[in-house]
């Protein structure tokens, strides 16, 4: 391997790693606030790419149906819950949040279907369409068992992921997509070309990590999210609504996933089921960070990206095996450095 190839692989790896950083940060954010390991997170990224591709080809994206169906289901559950607790007066407000708001981007996409909008507008629409999915899933799937153990929530997450992959195939079809590239710019640095796309990806990762950091350190909402993460009951006693904290975490997390989906789709062909592998690799990064630390997660995800890039060069067919096998030494390291962590009390 020549130094040029090594440099090229490293740059490629950092760009891939930056994608994982975005998704892994979302994992950690959602886990920290809700204790849900949101396995379908990678699917959200893939669905964003598929949505953007549909808008590009002037098709009605499958996300429209998905969001509409989820919104209807969530509203129905909310209405039933309110009627049962005899609070029918709160129904209009619930409908606003669970039905009207999610349907705004759906309506916008519907109205503009068939016309090719300019790229920035397409991106905004795709993101707006993707944002309600995770909060709605939270309402439908996780909230009834919000007090369950981490393991229960994880089991539900895995099942949910499979449901979403099935729905993805149903709504988007089996074809892979690759969207229009966001920039044609190429930087030549010391003889090694760096694509503008890679720079954009890394920049996005840096910007969003920065926002996340500032948000948690300096805003009251960030602090209330943190409080919910530490102790739900305690936070509730302080007047923080854990449900609301959860929704905010899902929204912000979906934004991260959406952005990564938009950034990755010009580089990689995305299928309805591509999300799982992307998400799982980001997971490896998140696990390096112990699902707690944002900075270590970011470094870990970059490491996974670089490792994958070198592994693909050495043996493309075993690239996945190598990436997932890295978990073993990582877990070994974690198990010895954190051996005294309290067990989940599960009885």
């Amino acid at each position: 391997m020549t130094p040029e190839i090594a440099a090229f692989l490293t740059i490629d790896g950092v760009a891939t790693g930056a994608i994982y950083v975005l998704i892994a940060l979302g994992f950690v954010l959602i886990f920290a606030v809700t204790r849900v390991i949101f396995v379908p997170f990678g699917d959200i990224a893939a669905f964003t790419a598929l949505t953007l591709a549909a808008l590009e080809t002037k098709h009605l994206p499958g996300t429209v149906g998905l969001v509409a169906a989820l919104a209807a289901l969530a509203s129905l559950m909310e209405i039933v819950k309110l009627l049962r607790s005899r609070r029918a007066g709160a129904i209009p407000r619930a409908l606003l949040f669970y039905l009207v708001l999610p349907l705004v981007p759906v309506a916008a996409v519907w109205a503009t279907a068939g016309t090719l909008l300019p790229l920035p507008l397409r991106i905004v629409l795709a993101l707006a369409l993707i944002l309600p999915i995770a909060p709605l899933l939270d309402r439908v799937v996780y909230r009834p068992i919000a007090d369950g153990t981490v393991l229960l929530l994880l089991t539900v997450s895995v099942a949910l992921h499979f449901a979403l992959v099935g729905l993805g195939l149903l709504f988007f079809g089996p074809e892979g997509v690759r969207t229009e590239s966001l920039t044609d710019y190429t930087l030549i640095l010391g003889g090694v070309p760096i694509s503008g796309q890679s720079i954009l990806i890394v920049a996005a990762a840096i910007i969003f990590s920065g926002i996340l950091f500032l948000f948690f350190e300096f805003t009251i909402i960030g602090k209330s999210l943190h409080a919910t993460a530490v102790n739900r009951t305690g936070a509730r006693l302080m007047g923080i609504r854990p449900e609301r904290s959860g929704t905010i975490a899902y929204l912000f997390g979906s934004l991260l996933a959406g952005v990564s989906g938009i950034l990755i789709s010009p580089v990689n062909t995305i299928f309805y089921d591509s999300g799982f592998l992307i998400g799982l690799k980001a997971f490896v990064g998140a696990i390096i960070g112990g699902l707690v630390s944002f900075p270590v997660t970011a470094i870990g995800s970059l490491f996974v990206g670089v490792l994958e890039s070198f592994a693909a060069f050495q043996s493309s067919s075993f690239k996945e095996v190598i990436v997932f096998s890295i978990l073993i030494p990582v877990l070994l390291w974690r198990s010895y450095s954190f051996a005294h962590s309290e067990e989940d009390i599960d009885e």
């Binding site: 229960l152 799982l280 696990i287 997932f324």
Partner: protein, 589 residues
């Protein structure tokens, strides 16, 4: 229902299973074969998830390792499938042991996440090895031959499959009822209690994990020789979650749940495959997984317990007699009265900037009852955790019975003869009183997994049961040994903890606020019990808030305040000590 009636039900079930090929259609027999194979994997998950509290999405990968081992050895290399079975079991247990050693020390969800990752890694490995036919797999795997008979037809291999299933169920049932089985059942709910009884939680976890993998390996071997073809697809993570679904739907704490769950999911899947094309002809494949996942989520939201426990509620309870008398377990020799048993020399424990225990020294002589008192936050419980090894000492030295135990693990300290109770009661509420106390005998008995599974431990078990019932009777809980511990009021739970500690035949009994939550009569009974124990030569260290209780019981008292030792002496001396009065009542303003 009596034990005899239970045996009859089981015998009828076995006969029905054995005669199935004579009254069921061939297609149903094929389905039964799948149910048996999947049931084996689910049985492993019941042990792992339902009993041991570890959730795995990767059992399909273990099944795959076994299926590929035997397929390669028999179809590619041309050896007998029976040799394939050996290779399958050996390779699977090796992989499981390595993966388990790495992941089982971690919190539960890390373990589960890693099962997804290595499940995928193993799947991709199968698909990328040319010698294993890449993603096309290995064809023409030979059938298993029993003597001259080749098990080709589905009603032939049916007998092999269900024989394995029934044997596996029987062995698993025996094992769960044995010494290690009780340890497995005690895993859920955290390590501190388990380790305090001298049980190596990690070793039990690892063994459970490997056993579950071996069951999956058996299933994989049967699968390879039943379908005569292996490819990576059936061993995907999707299948992994289906196995988990079977175990949980059936009722993951119950062995029978594995078979019931496997049957239900397999039949449901079969009928979904029949009906979905009628509803959505073009998209039935993808709808199937959506429907299944949605059903599973609904199940987890509303009926987490599963089917078997739900049905079991309507069945009459099995009547069990109290365990009979037996030869008692060998006892430890109590040290001679009056010699130094525990010597704490200048012990400190720091939590970040807080000195919870600061340079505390005291001695405990065998045969005495020493009280450790002090206001809230004085560091009593921390001191307690240092003595029992639950927390490492920051500085200082602890000597127990002549041996330095400063750096010894909690488990070894327990085995050396220090038994403890907890301030916040740590019992296993879903185990019976008897089982909870039996856990205490763990360090005095030695039967392992194999002895338990093969029922070779009967003599020792009788001894342990007798010991447990004696200790229960001694603390006044001998009336209903088969009651669930969770049904007891708090006061009795504390007493049950003492019985458990006594079952370990300790030299030193360490009690953390044993009188909290007890009524007056119960306190008197407890004090009488402790005096009795003292008369038998047992040494007791007790942390207590109830001054009446302490003052009338103990020989000497050590008073702590703000992490330091304030004074020590006989109860009467301590009571009049001005420093103690100031610590408890505040200084004269």
């Amino acid at each position: 229902m009596s034990v005899a009636a239970m045996r009859l039900v089981i015998a009828v079930a076995v006969v029905l299973v054995a005669a199935a090929p004579f009254y069921l259609a061939p297609f149903t027999i094929t389905l039964m074969n799948y149910i048996g194979i999947y049931g084996l994997v689910a049985l492993g998950l019941v042990l792992m998830t339902g009993v041991g509290g570890m959730v795995s999405f990767g059992q399909a990968a273990f099944m795959g390792i076994a299926a590929y081992s035997t397929a390669w050895l028999s179809a590619v290399m041309g050896y007998s499938p029976w040799l394939g079975l050996l290779l399958a079991l050996a390779l699977t247990s090796l992989v499981a042991a390595v993966l388990g050693a790495v992941t089982l020390r971690l919190r539960g969800h890390f373990l589960s996440l890693s099962t997804i990752a290595w499940g995928l890694a193993i799947y991709f490995t199968f698909g990328n090895i040319p010698g294993l036919g890449n993603f096309n797999g290995i064809t023409s795997v030979p059938p298993v031959a029993v003597g001259p008979v080749k098990l080709l037809a589905s009603d032939q291999i049916y007998y092999l499959i269900w024989l394995v299933v029934l044997l596996a169920m029987l062995l698993a049932h025996n094992m769960l009822a044995s010494r290690v089985g009780r340890a497995m059942r005690s895993l859920r709910g955290g390590n501190p209690m388990v380790e305090s009884l001298g049980i190596d939680a990690f070793r039990i976890r690892l063994a459970t994990f490997v056993i579950a993998a071996l069951l999956a390996a058996l299933a994989g071997w049967l699968y390879a020789h039943m379908s005569r073809f292996v490819s990576p697809t059936p061993f995907d993570v999707t299948m992994g979650i289906e196995f988990l679904m079977m175990a949980m739907v059936g009722g993951s704490g119950y062995l029978l749940g594995a078979i019931v769950g496997a049957a239900l999911i397999t039949l449901l899947k079969n009928s979904v495959q029949d009906y979905l094309p009628l509803i959505a002809p073009s998209a039935s494949g993808q709808l199937e997984i959506v429907v299944f996942s949605a059903l599973f989520i609904l199940f987890l939201q509303h009926a987490r317990e599963g089917i078997v426990p739900f049905v079991a509620r309507f069945l009459p309870e099995t009547r069990r007699r109290p365990p009979p008398a037996a030869e008692p377990l060998p006892r430890r020799r109590q040290p001679d009265a009056g010699q130094v048993l525990l010597d704490v020399e200048g012990c400190s424990r720091r939590f970040g900037g807080l000195m919870a225990v600061n340079d505390v020294s005291f001695e405990l002589r065998s045969g005495e009852i020493l009280g450790l008192i002090g206001p809230n936050g004085a560091g009593k419980s921390t001191m307690f955790n240092l003595v029992t090894g639950a927390l490492p000492v920051s500085a200082g030295k602890i000597v127990f019975a002549g041996a330095d135990i400063t750096k010894t693990t909690q488990r070894k300290i327990a085995r050396a003869g220090i038994a403890r109770t907890f301030q916040h009661v740590k019992l296993r509420p879903r185990m019976t009183l008897l089982d909870n106390v039996l856990l205490g005998t763990y360090s005095r008995t030695r039967s392992g997994f194999l002895a338990g599974a093969l029922n070779l431990d009967a003599h020792e078990e009788r001894q342990a049961y007798y010991e447990a019932i004696r200790q229960l009777q001694r603390v006044g809980l001998g009336e209903r040994p088969y009651e669930l511990a969770g049904n007891l009021p708090l006061g009795n739970q504390r007493v049950l903890e003492i019985a458990r500690a006594l079952a370990a035949d300790p030299v030193l009994l360490v009690l953390d606020e044993p009188a909290a939550g007890l009524r007056r009569q119960e306190k008197l009974a407890l004090a009488a019990l402790l005096r009795n124990l003292k008369a038998e030569g047992l040494t007791i260290l007790i942390v207590e808030h109830d001054m009446d209780f302490v003052m009338n019981l103990v020989d000497r008292i050590v008073v702590m305040e703000f992490g330091c030792k304030l004074c020590e002496g006989a109860p009467a001396e301590v009571r009049v000590d001005p420093r103690v009065q100031e610590a408890y009542l505040g200084g004269v303003a």
